[in-house]
């Protein structure tokens, strides 16, 4: 990882590169490549401006906001129950998990607590959406590295998880199921057995990925030692989730934070990897899917009976106050800072989404890598555009 620190050289490169005419740009000395906003590797509209010397990246700058939808502002004119239908769409692959921290924050201000059964089902859906989310990553990483087959396996098996989520919530992508004080509905009959079958499929899928992807020499050559994030740098940039656990930081809010969810009642393990490279991030996520399967199994076996809604008024007015709640979402730490002035609508909502922080390390991380590694590193950081731009 060599950095160009001579400012004159940088200035020259920038000057060469910023010229819009292709004729002047293509020199061995420097060239600007706009990866995105429309590019197959950015799964959306992220734009990364990389300045190249040959195929080596001299500088990389992510430019965000092409998909900014202003959810923080929109939330100020929505009633509390309505906000969940907005925040659903932040990380669209694991949308139920987005609702949880917001609802928990609102419950905290109101001083309400969901009944145990609701908490268990919440945790259950929380982990299922983690599986639905990360399984796609496991396949997609292959596509970014040129292997097309894994992603089809991922889509095939993810479908079953989505079916289970749909069976409970009625929505495949945007369940909008969480309520202040509990959940909208109970789980349907026979759902437990079906879900156990699905878990078997996901476990088989994980084994397949181990064979097809992590065991592959080329995959290892492309990911081992590439995009290494030391633990201190990762923490300094505010990385979270599997990205920081892959750097050896043993930090998981499901174990260390936890209010409102029942992870502490389960027997599970936080996976870390000492290397901090792209391979470690892939590996940690693969283990987390397996661990999530274990958790879902225990949750299915241990659901207590009882009501699924606490006593809350029909029209929810949150008393004045403020709360910040964060949970360990599929992409990393997601937090909501909710300020209430006692209205039907929140006074202010600040969303801390995981991908925004995860992607902000790219200028540091991409410097000195090669163009193909840019793609593999971006893929291994695993961001969702909605989670960056909100």
């Amino acid at each position: 990882m060599t950095a160009v620190d001579d400012p004159r050289r940088l200035a020259y490169i920038a000057g060469q590169a910023s010229d819009a005419r292709v004729n002047l740009e293509i020199e061995t000395e420097g060239m600007t490549l706009n990866i995105g906003p429309q590019h197959p590797a950015t799964h959306g509209t992220l734009r990364i401006v990389v300045k190249l010397d040959g195929e080596r990246v001299m500088r990389a700058e992510p430019i965000m906001g092409y998909m900014h939808r202003g959810y923080e502002k929109l939330a100020e004119v929505r009633t509390y129950p309505q906000v969940t239908s907005l925040v659903n769409r932040i990380d669209w692959l694991g949308s139920f998990a987005n609702e949880v921290p917001f609802i928990l924050a609102a419950e905290q201000i109101m001083g309400v607590e969901a009944p145990p059964r609701a908490q268990w089902i919440r945790t259950l859906l929380f982990e299922l959406s983690r599986i639905a989310n990360v399984v796609l990553f496991l396949g997609d990483m292959g596509v970014q590295l040129g292997a097309v087959t894994p992603v089809f396996f991922a889509f095939r098996d993810r479908e079953f998880v989505l079916n289970q989520i749909e069976a409970v919530t009625g929505g495949r992508f945007h369940p909008n199921f969480d309520r202040i004080g509990g959940l909208k509905d109970d789980i349907p009959k026979g759902w437990t057995e079906e879900t156990k079958g699905v878990l078997g499929r996901i476990r088989t899928f994980c084994d397949e990925m181990e064979d097809l992807v992590t065991g592959n020499e080329i995959f290892q050559a492309r990911t081992r030692g590439i995009g290494v994030i030391p633990a201190d740098v990762g923490l300094a940039y505010g990385l979270s989730g599997a990205n920081i656990r892959a750097s050896g930081v043993d930090w998981d809010l499901r174990r260390d934070g936890g209010i409102g969810l029942v992870h502490d009642k389960l027997d599970w393990k936080v996976w870390t990897h000492p290397d901090g490279d792209s391979f470690a991030r892939y590996w940690v996520r693969l283990q987390e899917v397996r661990e999530a399967c274990n958790m879902v199994e225990q949750l299915l076996d241990g659901i207590p009976s009882g009501p699924i809604m606490a006593k809350v008024p029909r029209i929810i007015k949150v008393p004045p106050g403020e709360a910040y709640v964060e949970t360990e979402n599929p992409l990393g730490v997601m937090g909501y800072y909710v300020v209430s002035k006692g209205d039907l609508v929140p006074y202010r909502v600040k969303i801390r989404s995981a991908s925004f922080n995860n992607i902000s390390i790219t200028p540091w991380l991409l410097e000195g890598t090669y163009v193909p590694d840019v793609v593999s590193i971006l893929a291994s950081l695993y961001f969702i555009l909605g989670d960056i731009d909100r």
Binding site: Q16, N23, L24, E25, I26, E27, T28, E29
Partner: protein, 181 residues
């Protein structure tokens, strides 16, 4: 069987027809080559010049085959078109900034160069017409790869070894010269 023999054999052309066919082929190739060569030395776009060079080189390969030097024609395609021109294009595209257009040919230089070129051609043409007025190429059969191999490894073994050393030296030299530090 070689190309020429194949042409004669499989198409059942009489030898006179073959001669006409050869002359027509020569004319087409010669005109194309001269036109491409002229464009190559006059065009202002370096990439276009390299592409015109490809046409000339392909024509030369065609002439070789016409003259019965089949192995040489194929080598021409492989080395010149497959390697040398690719090297040119590679170099041009890697450093396009200043390689793009060549507009530095001043009028005076062009005039002088043209005169020199014409003079060279005039002298050579006069000498050639004088010396080989009606000499016919009447080769009995095309040369085979085995013939060439035989003479390389017997009569021309010393130049062959010298060329091998030269290639190695050029390889090392090019790396040393082009290295960044």
């Amino acid at each position: 069987m070689t190309t020429l023999a194949a042409l004669e054999g499989m198409d059942r052309l009489s030898s006179g027809d073959v001669l006409v066919a050869q002359n027509v082929a020569f004319a087409i190739m010669a005109i194309t080559m001269v036109a491409a060569a002229l464009r190559m030395v006059t065009t202002r776009n370096v990439v276009h010049a390299a592409l015109y060079l490809v046409i000339v080189l392909a024509g030369v390969a065609g002439l070789f085959i016409l003259l019965g030097a089949e192995f040489l024609g194929v080598t021409q395609v492989m080395v010149y078109i497959g390697a040398i021109v690719v090297l040119f294009l590679f170099g041009i595209m890697l450093t396009k900034g200043s390689f793009g257009e060549d507009d530095g040919v001043t009028g005076e230089r062009r005039l002088m160069a043209g005169l020199v070129g014409l003079l060279v051609f005039g002298v050579m043409a006069a000498a050639l017409v004088e010396s080989f007025a009606d000499a016919e190429i009447s080769r009995s059969g095309p040369s085979t790869t085995a013939d060439i191999a035989d003479s390389i490894f017997s009569a021309y073994i010393v130049p062959f070894e010298a060329v091998s050393v030269l290639l190695l030296a050029a390889l090392i030299g090019a790396i040393v010269v082009a290295r960044k530090d």
